[in-house]
């Protein structure tokens, strides 16, 4: 970003979901995160895990916010990073699925225990751990669904939350195989 004010076209910021394929190497994630902090971009959510242990590739699913000019910058800057091979803008490409997993610990006694289980059932959460004064629920789905569930749980007692962040994939039959073959 220049020190001079940018052109005064005020364009709304939108949320974008990016899907990256990167080398599974020490330092790659640091490079991606360093790009965002160094250039003042936002990260709303980020997940990373290996997806191909022969080619040693990982996928980074990343949710960011910005004007279309900023998003284009982010994508071009990401592609400059040597171990970043593919940068896809799922929001731009078309319909896609966004999913996240949450683990929610709820400390609860008395009548609210039944309410908690009822809510969990409605949301199709799984109960992973039970004690006489607590539960641990596991829930997957859209981030907004997780938000709603967590809000309800908070009203029932003391909670502890752990969320994975968004993982995303495009809908339909198209895959990245051709792109991956070039790596």
């Amino acid at each position: 970003m220049s020190v001079y004010q940018k052109n005064e076209v005020k364009e709304a910021e939108t949320s974008r979901t990016l899907s990256l394929v990167v080398d599974n190497q020490p330092g790659t994630l640091a490079r991606v995160i360093g790009l965002f902090s160094g250039r003042g971009y936002n990260i709303e959510s980020l997940t990373v895990t290996e997806i191909d242990n022969i080619k040693n590739l990982s996928r980074i699913s990343l949710v960011t916010r910005g004007t279309s000019m900023t998003i284009e910058q982010i994508k071009s800057q990401l592609l400059r990073i040597v171990p970043v091979h593919i940068v896809r803008d799922l929001t731009l490409e078309g319909p896609f699925i966004k999913s996240e997993l949450a683990l929610v610990k709820l400390v609860v006694n008395g009548a609210n225990r039944v309410e908690a289980l009822r809510v969990a059932e409605t949301f199709r959460a799984r109960t992973l751990d039970v004690t006489l004064s607590s539960f641990v629920f596991e829930l997957t789905g859209k981030p907004s669904k997780l938000d709603a569930f967590i809000e309800l749980m908070r009203s029932l007692g003391d909670t502890e939350i752990s969320r994975t962040g968004v993982s995303a994939i495009s809908r339909g039959y198209k895959t990245e195989t051709k792109l991956l073959d070039q790596i």
Partner: protein
């Protein structure tokens, strides 16, 4: 079959040789002793011992920029690597291909805060194009080969390879470079969109007020790109201006050349940028020194941007057409297309545009009055140029007023003859950079145009210059001030000269003599030319202490936060207060 085993250090050196390295700039230390041992027995690579690691990188930059080759650096772990950081950042900002080998503590000690340990890959991550920590000796050769490709392909930049001492000592099997490595991200000339090229060619011919603005990308693309740019300018009879980084890519003597643009660019270049109806940016990046206030930047123009780095496009200025590719390839296609269309008689006459430009030229924005016996710094550069323009001259500079005067008053007729720190603005760049240039061009005249404050930042390199008998001429415009800081304090901070006076300067003549090199001093205009003659004619290195007018300011100038058409041409012109936004700018 015998397998050629060698030590990791020997493999590193062999890989450098295989990649064409002839010179390496470095400084030894504990963690690189095996590498220095391997160098000791090697006669294919010449090692230049600098006196500070920052200087090693700048020297490699000077070498790279004046030859088009990759510059190579060798430093030790910890402080060796951290000292190199400024140089690496400088190379990243100016897109200079550099390989920096750094020593590291042995792998089993990494993370234990061992002696001279630093997280070198962590520290250098944001200031290199890429970096490696070699943890597996079997990967060593491949990593080095790959690093050379990364440093020189696409938009060039520095690559650091961190080499733990145990890796240098381990036995490895040498692997040769495989040349047909495919990089799916690399831009190929076949990818050029001929449709866009055709449209741009038409625009160039049909526009009434076109301007071409060339940058460091043209120089980086090789001398052929500069020839093509000049050819394009000549065919179109179109005005051309160059950034600080691009000087030399169109000869200064070309009649269509308007001089440098930007903060200290000429009046005609900036006004032509402001009033153009078509701007063709070739290998420049709309840097803030060039654009001035963005919302008033060339407001009524269509903009075309040629750049090898896609992330440069639409970064700060939105353009109408973008062509991602190597300047020489895009320019070649563009010149061909323009030639083809030229016969179709669609070219609009540019006589009105030129008569307007000539009116701006008549302002003579670089004019100055050399009165009295004090030497005007502008005159010092002008005389230096006149005396050396027919020699094979390479110029390096430090950063500040002297740098801008050099850019304004020294004429560059060829690319790769002008080495200056553009993006990072590193004081202390010029002297070590001139070491690299002189090593690469032992017979040429290499001049470091310097200011006394910048010179003090890396003057330890005098020792290197003497050791290798480098006949570098250090031309110090000595005004006893950090001139550009002083100028900004005068213009923006009510002449409160806070800490910008350099007290206790050394006697530069005696300083030179203490290194057994020639020191010259001149403070009278009548002796200036004789001093320059003497400096140029001395076979060895020279420090010339040019005592110039102390409070001279660098004009013309676009004040911070102002637009191209808001230039001030002299101190008397500065009647407007800088805006609050402007004050916050650098």
């Amino acid at each position: 079959m015998t397998i050629n085993y060698m030590s990791g250090a020997e493999a590193v050196i062999q890989a450098l040789v295989e990649n064409g390295v002839e010179v390496i700039f470095g400084y030894p230390g504990g963690a690189v002793l095996p590498l220095y041992d391997a160098l000791f027995e090697n006669n294919q690579i010449k090692h230049i011992l600098v006196r500070h690691e920052q200087a090693a990188v700048h020297a490699a930059e000077g070498y790279a920029r004046s030859t088009g080759k990759v510059g190579c650096v060798l430093v030790t772990s910890g402080p060796g690597a951290t000292n190199a950081i400024t140089g690496l950042t400088d190379a990243l900002m100016d897109s200079i291909p550099i390989i920096c080998l750094s020593g590291q503590v042995p792998t089993h000690l990494i993370g234990t805060d061992a002696f001279q340990e630093a997280d070198t890959t962590g520290i250098s991550r944001p200031c290199t194009k890429h970096n490696y920590l070699v943890k597996d000796a079997n990967m060593l050769c491949d990593i080095i080969h790959k690093s050379f490709e990364i440093a020189s392909n696409g938009r060039p930049g520095p690559v650091l390879i961190d080499l733990p001492k145990d890796i240098q000592l381990s036995k490895v099997k040498y692997k040769n470079k495989i040349f047909n490595t495919k990089d799916h991200k690399q831009i190929k000339s076949s990818d050029l969109d001929m449709d866009v090229i055709n449209k741009v060619a038409k625009l160039l011919l049909q526009s009434e007020r076109p301007i071409i603005y060339g940058g460091g990308g043209v120089v980086n693309s090789g001398p052929h790109a500069s020839k093509l740019l000049t050819e394009l300018v000549n065919i179109l009879d179109c005005p051309v201006t160059l950034t600080l980084m691009g000087l030399g890519s169109v000869p200064n003597t070309n009649k269509n050349f308007l001089g440098m643009l930007g903060m200290h660019g000429t009046y005609e270049a900036n006004l032509a940028m402001h009033h153009c109806d078509l701007m063709l940016n070739v290998g420049a990046r709309f840097d803030d020194r060039v654009t001035g206030r963005l919302n008033a930047f060339a407001p009524n123009s269509k903009k075309v941007h040629i750049d090898i780095d896609k992330s440069s496009i639409n970064k700060v200025v939105s353009v109408d057409y973008a062509i991602v590719g190597d300047c020489k390839e895009v320019l070649f296609a563009l010149v061909e297309e323009v030639k083809k269309l030229h016969n179709q008689n669609i070219k609009k006459p540019k006589t009105k545009w030129w008569s307007q430009i000539n009116k701006w030229r008549a302002k003579d924005s670089l004019g100055f009055k050399q009165l009295g016996s004090n030497i005007k710094p502008q005159q010092a550069i002008k005389s230096l140029y006149e005396k050396t323009k027919n020699m094979d001259t390479y110029i390096t500079t430090e950063v500040g007023q002297h740098q801008m005067w050099a850019a304004q008053y020294f004429g560059f007729s060829k690319p790769n003859h002008w080495m200056t720190s553009g993006g990072l603005g590193t004081m202390g760049y010029g002297l070590p950079s001139s070491v690299g240039v002189q090593i690469a061009h032992p017979k040429s005249l290499v001049i470091d145009i310097s200011g006394e404050a910048s010179f003090l930042m890396n003057m330890q390199e005098l020792s290197t210059i003497v050791q290798y008998k480098l006949p570098i001429k250090i031309f110090i415009l000595n005004n006893e001030w950090m001139g550009m800081v002083r100028q900004w304090q005068e213009l923006n901070h009510g002449s409160r000269y806070s800490e910008s006076y350099t007290a206790s300067l050394p006697d530069f003549v005696k300083l030179a003599e203490s290194f057994n090199i020639t020191g010259l001093r001149v403070d009278n205009i009548n002796n200036l030319e004789a001093t320059i003659d003497e400096m140029v004619n001395i076979k060895g290195p020279v420090i010339a202490d040019i005592r110039v007018e102390k409070e001279e300011n660098c004009f013309p100038m676009i004040p911070s936060g102002a637009a191209h058409n808001d230039m001030i041409l002299s101190s008397e012109d500065n009647n407007k207060d800088t805006s609050n936004e402007g004050l916050a700018l650098v």
